[in-house]
Subunit: 185 residues, 2 copies
DNA sequence: AAGGTGAGTTCCCTGAAGAAACTCGTCAGT
DNA sequence: ACTGACGAGTTTCTTCAGGGAACTCACCTT
């Protein structure tokens, strides 16, 4: 794929996508988080090429999303565990799952249910506003340039666009710093 | 990549990933949802190969996530718009963005802020339980086999695993503490 | 007529994904 | 001691998708 260096794009989605935007990574994380943690189990479960699995796991360990641990010495056996950073991907997976269920749901129902132990019911994930708890949609929210924004690959067109929107909207909370709308480095 | 047919895997994450688990698709959807909707703008903004962009857009239109519309006739010009199915991916993008901000955040701050128009504040997305509104984590939720579940590629190991958990848990009304201590505080 | 813009196509080249076989260390059974 | 199996990768070989850049085509502007 000649991995494009998305990591340096000034967009958190791009950085997350650089890691996560690979068909296998999401599925590997699903499996690890749910409890399939050994190499062979992952290979069999996913039907992934062992070579690619080894590469993905190495990358995920490298990124601090998984750790590789020896869980028994006698026949030396390793397994992969999610770090805090890895566990934090769980909500993203729930979002993907919810979307898949909604738009590709089979008549029989979803293949997997999520059981919320705290409230004791089957549940689904909704992405809501941290402040008021209202579900966030394209229609009730706006992207505005943040303090760490800069123009570069990945935001050449988008950057100026949201900057001009911010201007039109005038001071939303704290006004935008840069007058030229291109938050400089 | 020799696109593996993930679509028939009995897992909604796999189905969503089949579409979304491509480095470019997430970024294209971000751009389209935020307002970059024309071919050339997308190509310039993302720095994506035009060939690949054409292929991705065709696929997204095919999947019913985007529509291609002529917005002016004189010089014939088209643009891409998100359908309801496409807009529904927005929460997933917010999840990715939140994760990227949390774990790859620059000292300067996030490159983009999300302005919630309803409550009038900068916000972040949290994935919460539809019933009680508590944030969902690996520790307070469990995957259980759903009505549409079946064993196949992508669930050869995982399927039996969650099935056995469901058995151990017995009637899911009684909160059972996992013997292996997986369920954390 | 010359140049520009939007929206793609076509071309070639490299390198990542897939498949399957191979390695290496350690048990378990006979 | 010999054979087989398992876990965890590594190696080899082939093929096909991605990157890059040039090319097309229709229309507009000067």
């Amino acid at each position: 794929m000649t991995r494009k260096p998305l990591a340096d794009v000034a967009c958190s989605i791009a950085r997350a996508t650089d890691l996560f935007g690979d068909a296998w990574t999401a599925l590997i994380m699903r499996d690890v988080l749910v409890g399939v943690t050994r190499f062979d189990d992952l290979a069999h479960d996913l039907g992934i090429s062992r070579k690619v699995l080894a590469a993905r796991l190495a990358r995920l360990v490298d990124e601090g999303v998984l750790t590789r641990e020896r869980y028994q010495d006698h026949p030396p056996r390793e397994h992969y565990q999610a770090t805090a950073k890895g566990e934090d991907l769980y909500p993203v997976l729930l979002g993907l799952m919810a979307w898949g269920d909604r738009w590709y749901g089979e008549p029989a129902g979803p293949p997997t249910r999520i059981w919320h132990t705290t409230c004791g019911r089957d549940t689904n994930a909704v992405a809501v506003c941290t402040h008021c708890g209202e579900p966030l949609t394209v229609h009730n929210s706006d992207q505005l340039p943040g303090p760490g924004g800069r123009v570069g690959p990945g935001t050449r067109v988008l950057g100026p666009l949201i900057a001009s929107r911010a201007e039109r909207r005038q001071s939303p909370g704290t006004a935008v710093a840069d007058p030229d709308g291109q938050t400089a480095p």
